[in-house]
Amino acid sequence: MIEWTGLSPDEARQFLANKDKSKRDKRMSLKEAVQKFVKDGDNVGVGGFVNARQPVAIVHEIIRQGRKDLTLSFASAGLGPEYLAGAMALDESKNSIKRMEFAYFAHEAFGISPLLRYLTENNKVELEDWSNYDMSARLKAGSIGIPFIPCRSPLGSDMLKTNRAKVIDCPFTGRPIMLLPASHPNVAIIHVQEADIYGNCRTQGPMFTCPEMSMASAHTIITCDRLIEHDDMTRFPNRVTIPFFSVDAVIEVPFGAFPGNCNGLYYFDEKHTAEFRGACEKLRKGDPTPLQNYYDTYIFGVENTTELINKIPLSQIQYIQKIEPGIRLDAGYTVLG
């Protein structure tokens, strides 16, 4: 038996079997959603991939409320865990990450994660390294209700010496195969382009591991750039990537993935990302003031994402919309408030 983080497969099954799966209006404020569904000590699945469709608005609200001893589960991420790590570095008594189950924490073209270095090199967080496929396959196992999933990579890697994977001889071929334990976070936090009031989600661009993550988790909070009519959603049933009964809360948050990329709507805001990342790097090198100022301005100094966006020059917002090369969303729907 292994120690399960989040829910064990049997607990996850029991939880879902008892859950209200009705098709009901799940709109609420982001404050309320975080109060209800994110608890101290939770295993939190962070949706998106590196800095694309990161659930930044949800993470900022978690930070404003303060949550401790979180386990973060993700394949690759940048902004989401960086913001949580920054909050922890500034005031560990208010926000803290206890553990990370992950494959990659950095910002690709925008640089490494200063706070991954800060947290790990000071031994402030427990690590469990996996590959991107491993984390995705673990969530897939969770989403389809099986306790483990066989996988071929990374057999031969040192990752297997410190994570909970097991290598067995395949009972059918006789060759070694790796078994990954399912992942069942307590809550998945996911940003999408479009959702309806019931929680059906239509994503643009890569789906990353968001559908699996939502369906594996006990709860899911969805923020969306646009809330759309249910009838518009169901015009294309096979474009629904996350089904309503997997979702607990839906909040319309335009620019909820800013300063990251949201396919079809806005590209990376390099300037803002560099400002944040630069402040993180200064903290790592011993000067917390710029990061404290950043949080006071953009997170603690605002109530929500709208107020954050109000602090960004309009020209900068227009620029990230103009350079976004993803396919634009369909326009033939009524936008709901």
């Binding site: 694309a52 990659y104 490494i112 690590l127 390294d129 991107n132 990579s153 890569p206 396919n263 993803g326």
Partner: protein, 268 residues
């Protein structure tokens, strides 16, 4: 006689060598950074039929909307032929749909095993490493299950070590006969290592790294001096041809005019 560039940088040389290593009409699973630049260059020159795959889900997109800054960014998805998510992309590698994986790392050993996880003692210092690196991402998955792997590295003695801190992405493991097969792997392993100083491959018998070509301005000795282990030096080592003026122009003016990946350090 080709019109060779006279002011190319070592990184541009890597990109051009990487591009030339790619074969038209093959499926190439691309890691972030210089591999994306090299694939784009290959598509613009000899390999218009190369099918790029990005781990966030995009298969066979056109890379004509600007250099992707992320393997999950919007620029990887333009006119993609197939677009799901991470599981579907990695499932393709296991099934055998991906001919080449194209990755980098911070450290490499003679058998092509790569480290992109941590520097320091492992496993003792795993939870408090001397230097923590970003982690595997999808590199280890590509190294395991793409049919062959092409590796891009900065060529420094400390990065080419007989023993590396941590094996993130498996190469030929300990080099023993059929080591990969016995470990349960399906891909054939590393094919080429392309650096600022040389192009290398692996000996069929011992699976140790062998020199194939030196980059312009380098010699067998200068390459060996920059390598922290003994390279196999065959008799037929040749000098790799320099980039052409046109290749350098494409990199600077068309593919990465802002210098996101080409003028920066390759990987920390």
């Amino acid at each position: 006689m080709a019109n060779y560039s006279e002011d190319f940088t070592p990184q541009e040389m890597i990109v051009v060598a990487g591009s030339k290593t790619l074969i038209d009409n093959k499926v190439v699973f691309a890691g972030t950074g210089l591999p994306m630049v090299a694939i784009t260059l290959a598509q613009l020159t000899h390999g218009p039929g190369i099918v790029p795959v990005f781990e966030a889900g995009a298969v066979g997109p056109e890379l004509s909307r600007g250099l992707p800054l992320s393997v999950g960014g919007s620029r990887t998805t333009y006119k993609a032929n197939y677009l799901l998510g991470l599981n579907s992309a990695f499932e393709l590698t296991q099934r055998g749909f991906c001919d080449f994986g194209f990755i980098g790392g911070a450290e490499i050993d003679p058998y092509g095993n790569l480290n992109s996880t941590m520097m320091g003692r492992f496993p003792e210092d795993y939870q408090k490493p001397k230097t923590r690196l970003p982690g595997s991402g999808g590199a280890s998955d590509m190294a395991c299950s793409c049919e062959r792997t092409i590796i891009i590295m900065v060529h420094e003695p400390r990065r080419f070590a007989e023993k590396i801190s941590y094996i993130t992405s498996p190469g030929y493991l300990d080099g023993s006969p059929n080591a990969r097969w016995r470990a349960g792997l399906v891909g054939q392993g590393p094919y080429r290592v392309i650096t600022t100083k040389a192009v290398m491959g692996f000996d069929d018998e011992t699976k140790r790294m062998k020199l194939i070509a030196t980059m312009p301005g380098e010699t067998v000795n200068s390459v060996q001096d920059a390598t922290g282990f003994k390279l196999i030096i065959p008799d037929d080592v040749y000098e790799f041809e320099p980039p052409t003026v046109e290749e350098v122009r494409l990199i600077r003016e068309v593919i990465d005019p802002q210098g996101y990946f080409v003028r920066k350090k390759i990987k920390e």
